[in-house]
Symmetry: C2
Subunit: 178 residues, 2 copies
Amino acid sequence: MLSDEEWFQMQQCFELFKFKKGDILLDTNAICNFIGFVDIGIIRFFEIKDGNEKVTAFWFPDDFLSNYRSFLSGTKSTHYIEALSDGSYWRLSKEDLWRLFDDYPKIDRLGRKMAEYLYLIVAERLDNLLKQSPEERYKSLINNNSRLLQQVPQYMIASYLGVSAETLSRIRKRIYTK
Amino acid sequence: MLSDEEWFQMQQCFELFKFKKGDILLDTNAICNFIGFVDIGIIRFFEIKDGNEKVTAFWFPDDFLSNYRSFLSGTKSTHYIEALSDGSYWRLSKEDLWRLFDDYPKIDRLGRKMAEYLYLIVAERLDNLLKQSPEERYKSLINNNSRLLQQVPQYMIASYLGVSAETLSRIRKRIYTK
DNA sequence: ATAGTTTCTTGACGTTCGTCAAGAATATTG
DNA sequence: CAATATTCTTGACGAACGTCAAGAAACTAT
């Protein structure tokens, strides 16, 4: 889809960032001025409401990584991006991306595909949250996202599903004892 | 942002569709092959789960109108698009849009802006759903979307907020009697 | 105006959830 | 291996929600 020249120009702009478990890759109130892709490691995207963590997303290798809302709108992040393990990610600054979009129409189109793809992910998550019960959401996770269950603490998954840690523990008990 | 020529080409592709209250503009299991913009009227986007309606969105004049998930992914719609009043909307077929994207890079870029904008809307809605209580969500609606309260039946708003009609009735009682 | 339809409210009751607290299980570190 | 920290489970209890059913209120249409 892209020519060699276009790929080269894009690759030139990506920079590898290493991180340690617990590192904050984006703090609240900062404006997210980059997008990235996970190289190695696990990352979570969450906010804090009344002292409670609300996890919006987990990211694994090859996943898109950004506070895309803050990135697009230029508003301060309400969320943290935090490393759940050691690892690294490829980073592209907003400045460079805008320049690539201006200089190369095909990269601009790639940006459209990216936005469309990210729309699909979040729209599907919204739909599931509206129509499924917590138990159904957990079962979906078992079928579609089992690596998450193995590599992320359960209380974070609970938050991702929109329930308390205790409730998820009881959901699991319900499921696995019948 | 677009030249006269580009605007003209786009306008050529839009077609006005009239509808009556209760009309189904997109049925479940159909593939959404258009995007549109509301000209006149009110429209809702909803699905049915276990006999219950789950409203995902309401659209007013100038709002973007499509099952964008079905449109982008080419999968069958799980939702209905239904007219809540008489009205009309401007419609652009997928075929024409793809052609416009191919022929005019600036329209392609406009498509990126559109996808980005729609991402922001759904991402914010997801965030609110994860972090706010039903009562908080209703209060947000009062402040940010009051025309919705005046022009849409309350039981549909309840569904949009993710609660039963009775619960919203009780939330309103809680709020307005103290 | 009146009859019919739709929408909203209220009460009763059972279920699920959140919170707090304690302890068990698991993982990490020295 | 022992000590510590983290995560998970369980119980008890109260709050919020869903459902069913009945009636009130608002809206439509003739």
